[in-house]
């Protein structure tokens, strides 16, 4: 009998707590409460948290919840409607779009990545590397750092005769999508055999390793010399002084270092080619000063939102994100090495897409 009493008391306590919780949240307020749930890209997760903390909506009392689940999960959750915003490092494929009409891919930012290595003694030097050479390293046809192909791009640098250990992301990743898109466009062997996407048909290489997340890649590379991998620019501070990174041979045959400027140059090359639905790959850009790896970051949302207020709050939030005085100001983006969209892209692509958001009547 005692246990029954304890159970009863337990239930009463839970009900009282729940009651208090509901009372607090439903007290009389002037602004309407709206929750915008976000899930997806681990790359965007840190900046989303900062946005969520600092964003205030003029019309609504908006709460933004964030989850770092991965781009694929973000897209899937947005399609199923379990979250309002799916954050993704890549746009949805044609077949995914035709299977799920009514989804919008809204570009909000530009991000890029390093091709990094751990070469003791040479980490302060930027080696020149090209797409075909990196593809050769991953498919095991280039096995040693002093391979003639690498040496010829880097005359005068004494490279060690050590086995190259290529590292990739074992989890699905927008970084993998960017990296493999660059390799697909610059190396036909890669394009035909491996392809591009958040996870690919990785070549068989006995020296290759996988790691989870950018943090996992960095920690593996730090403790294992002669590794090479790709790391999001967001992690600039974490690799500084520990790993070196390469200047990549771009479409015009020029070796270019990854900087905010060279990534913006790359994006600028595609300005006139962005389709109205925003889905475009901006790797392998022409131009002498364009860094060949870059991508738009996307918000994946349903065109038809459940109600008027959610739709309006969502529109306000996205427009704030791409506003250079709002979410795209340097105080939010610089710390994560993210690059704001050029205003021409905001005006010609992002805003029209945001205006498409409606609600079920």
């Amino acid at each position: 009998m005692k246990k029954v009493y304890i159970a009863t008391i337990g239930i009463v306590v839970i009900l009282v707590i729940a009651g208090i919780f509901v009372a607090i949240n439903s007290g009389p307020q002037q602004k309407k409460n709206i929750t915008l749930s976000e899930s997806g890209s681990t790359l965007l997760y840190p900046v989303f948290n900062v946005w969520a903390k600092n964003y205030t909506d003029p019309q609504y009392n908006v709460t933004i919840t964030t989850q770092a689940t991965g781009s694929g999960t973000g897209i899937s959750s947005a399609i199923k409607g379990t979250v309002i915003i799916g954050a993704s490092d890549t746009y949805m494929s044609n077949s995914l779009m035709s299977a799920n009409p009514g989804m919008l891919n809204i570009p909000i930012l530009i991000s890029s990545q390093y091709v990094a290595y751990n070469l003791p003694g040479l980490n302060n030097i930027h080696l020149n590397l090209s797409g075909p050479i990196i593809a050769g390293i991953y498919n095991n046809s280039i096995q040693y750092w002093d391979d003639q192909k690498i040496q010829s791009l880097n005359p005068g640098i004494s490279l060690p005769h050590e086995r190259i250990i290529p590292v990739y992301r074992s989890d699905g990743s927008g970084d993998t999508a960017m990296f493999t898109s660059f390799l697909s466009k610059s190396c036909s062997w890669w394009n035909n055999t491996v392809g591009y996407g958040t996870n690919v048909n990785w070549p068989s290489n006995p020296a290759s390793h996988g790691a989870t997340g950018n943090a996992g890649i960095i920690s593996f590379m730090e403790s294992n010399p002669y590794t090479i991998s790709y790391i999001a620019m967001t992690y600039t501070n974490q690799i500084a002084g520990k790993l070196g990174y390469a200047a990549l041979i771009n479409r015009n045959g020029v070796a270019v270092l990854p900087t905010t400027q060279t990534v913006m140059n790359a994006a600028a090359q595609y300005l006139n080619q962005i389709p109205p639905d925003g889905r475009i790959s901006i790797t392998w850009a022409p131009g002498n000063d364009s860094y060949p790896i870059a991508t738009f970051e996307y918000l994946i949302v349903k065109q038809v939102q459940p109600d008027k207020d959610t739709a309006q709050a969502l529109k306000n939030f996205i427009l704030w994100i791409v506003n250079p005085n709002g979410g795209s100001s340097s105080k939010y983006l610089n710390q994560f090495y993210l690059i704001p969209l050029p205003s021409s892209v905001v005006n010609s692509v992002t805003v029209p897409l945001v205006n498409k958001i409606t609600y079920a009547s």
Binding site: V4, T69, G70, S71, G72, T73, I75, S76, T90, S93, N94, S95, L96, S98, A99, R163, I165, S170, D171, G172, S173, G195, Y196, G197, T198, N199, V200, N201, W202, P203, S204, N205, P206, A207, S208, H209, G210, A211, T212, G216, S219, F220, S223, N224
Partner: protein, 329 residues
């Protein structure tokens, strides 16, 4: 006439008690249902191929034998299956003698106070989250293995085929096995320890009275008497090792599409592959990546269930027999 409350209570407890059965059946049928397209598409190749090719999801899907799949996709779990079994087996081989020796030592050779300390420490080990084992593996174990232990093993044990060859990093089969060994030691030790405690005192005393040394008593009487429990403990440990995800994910080297050539090679396991491949599977509009992962999950579930059931069955058998034998005397 039972009290009304009693009836309600009986009904409620009955309802709640069938939840676990319901959950297992639900999970099983869910996995089976989602596996069907993969079983049709991959067939037996699913178990004989080690290539896990998610395919090019950004290209239009292709129709193969009436099934829509991503271009260039094919799914084989041999590498994951091999990784799961080899790391669990090596972990078991290392943990087996250690857990027996520790249990015998605390019961026969160590004084009461120290015994309590050791047992509670072992129990504490079981409560440590697996991610901490993984962290220790990355920070401490991997460099230790790649700088000292693995080169030494290569040099002195290199005559054994699986122990010679290239060492690319500390992450791989050996690191995963050691981490798994640490994780299954507590459960194995406490089961064996429990069996020794339950072992009839009068038989032990009888052995000593007949002039047996402690060593002879341990080897001839106790270990023989609890043979079945020891086997059961090993199966329980195996069950835990087969399904472990996080810790192994951090130290395995998470490799794809290449079979390991030696004990230092990077590897991938079923649980780990399931966790890391799920996100990109959602990018596949045909769903085949998800179906293939479901079949992977189904295989893992069946293997783990089998190991766990056999273990429990044998331990149960042993305990009943041990007790009756104790009572007879």
């Amino acid at each position: 006439m039972p009290h009304k409350l009693d009836k309600i209570f009986y009904f409620l407890t009955f309802l709640i008690s069938i939840i676990p059965i319901f959950l297992v059946l639900m999970l099983f049928s869910f996995l089976l249902y989602y596996s069907i397209p993969s079983i049709k598409y991959n067939g037996l190749k699913f178990f004989t191929s080690y290539y896990w090719y998610p395919g090019q999801v950004y290209l239009p899907p292709v129709n193969i034998n009436g099934i829509l799949v991503p271009y260039g996709s094919s799914f084989g779990i041999l590498l994951f299956l091999y990784g799961t079994l080899i790391t669990s087996l090596i972990a078991l081989i290392i943990a087996f003698p250690i857990s027996i020796v520790v249990s015998l030592a605390v019961n026969l050779y160590v004084n009461e106070k120290f015994k309590k300390l050791i047992i509670s420490l072992i129990e504490l080990f079981a409560a440590i989250p697996s991610v901490l084992y993984g962290l220790w593996g990355i920070v401490y174990l991997e460099p230790l293995l790649s700088n000292f232990i693995e080169p030494a093993m290569n040099k002195y044990l290199g005559f054994i085929p699986f122990f010679s060859g290239n060492i690319y990093s500390g992450a791989g089969i050996l690191a995963s096995s050691i981490i798994l060994c640490l994780m299954i030691l507590p459960i194995m030790t406490s089961v064996i320890n429990g069996s020794i405690l339950n072992f009839s005192t009068s038989i032990k005393e009888g052995a000593i009275a007949l002039g047996a040394t402690r060593y002879e008593m341990a080897r001839l009487i106790i270990l023989r008497g609890i043979k079945i429990q020891i086997f059961g403990a090993a199966m329980l440990g195996l069950g835990r090792a087969l399904g472990e995800t996080m810790a192994v994910l951090m130290v395995s080297g998470s490799v794809f599409n290449i079979m390991p050539s030696n004990i230092y090679s990077p590897i991938n396991t079923m649980a780990e592959a399931l966790a890391s491949l799920l996100d990109s599977a959602f990018m596949d509009s045909t769903g085949m990546n998800l179906y293939a992962l479901s079949e992977l999950g189904l295989t893992l579930m069946l293997i783990t269930l089998a190991a766990s059931l056999i273990g429990r069955f044998i331990v149960g058998l042993g305990i009943i027999r041990g007790f009756t034998r104790g009572e007879e005397i």
